[in-house]
Amino acid sequence: MAEHTVTLTDGNFDETLAGADAPVLVDFWAEWCGPCKMIAPVLDEIARENEGKLTIGKLDIDENLEISRRFEVLSIPTLILFKGGEPVARLVGAKGKAQLLQELHPYL
């Protein structure tokens, strides 16, 4: 799992986003969150199919509270799409692949 996604942490978050050419979709998740686990394979698939066009970063909120707090994440899964380092879209809650793509489409 997660071969096509990158792991984000409090330590590498700013650096990774600053250095990204493509939009970055950050998945705020945790091990104990059922819906997060459900969308993990979907996100991996989207990352694989959009290689080069979209980077998907996974941030474990359990270990990276600083970044989670900075973006006021209060529910997981939360997906935030960053373009040029700025958040442009935010999706809360687990959704199927078609719906995720549809909601992300205007920003890609």
Binding site: G34, P35, T78, A94
Partner: protein, 323 residues
Amino acid sequence: MTSAIPSGDGVRDVVIIGSGPAGLTAAIYTARANLKPLVIEGEPSSNSDQPGGQLMLTTEVENFPGFPDGIMGPDLMAAFKAQAARFGAEFVTAKASEVVFDERPFRVHTSDGGEVSARSVIVATGARSLMLGLESERRLLGYGVSTCATCDGFFHRDYEVGVVGGGDSAIEEALFLAKFATKVHLIHRRKELRASRIMQDRALAHPKLEFIWDTVVSDLVGDKTLEAAVLKDVNTGTERTLPLHGLFVAIGHVPNTDIFKTSLDSDENGYLRTVGHGTYTNIEGVFACGDVQDHVYRQAITAAGSGCMAAIDCERWLEAVAH
């Protein structure tokens, strides 16, 4: 993981819609009867309408027989699925979006544009959480308002939260949230709980749980994130504001029957009607099991039991029409 209906799929003996305890038990039984069931398991969601069903949003299940030390809801459902897969059940990760029951074979369409034909269909779509129905609730969902305590409890460590409801799920959520929150306000529209005795005793004895009886949530306050709930006393009509960092809604369920409205008979609350003690619906060859047809018991074990009944009813019906 299969995610779409295989193209060129022929007419199936049985398609099962839903993958909670009812759907997966029906899958185990029909797979063992060599009917090669296709399970349309649903799509990820945070509102209990998803692959694995309502148990995917729970933690410890303490009342499922066979697990004296309890088992985590998602682990239990993973085991159900593995058992069905072992006997040849196949899975599609999509939502059934339309059913055609007035022609034979029946057809089931999925949200990803797939279509499958089947001689029989077992409906096990379950129920999803009811929401309060407030505009402010829609706006703040995910920003302090939640339907999943196990997902979001973590974010309320050292804050005060509220739970709306008075049944087992409300109490379960409240007890879970008490691990994180400084105080959990249980807001219930009646003066007594609907929850089972054991849950009530635990809740009433818990030092962090505070009960607000005869009260409903009439509005939610918060610009970006939830700041407070407006509570209304149902007897006096008096309103007051309670500052809250999080609010968890557990006021009951509504059956997932939208796609069956024009074809299957349902009762006044939308639950599917089955015939006598069996799982037959008004359409021969379509069977219903689990919470979608049961608003009385609504347990994992009763759902599983009725899934088994549906599988047996279905198998016998297929045999009878084949001869």
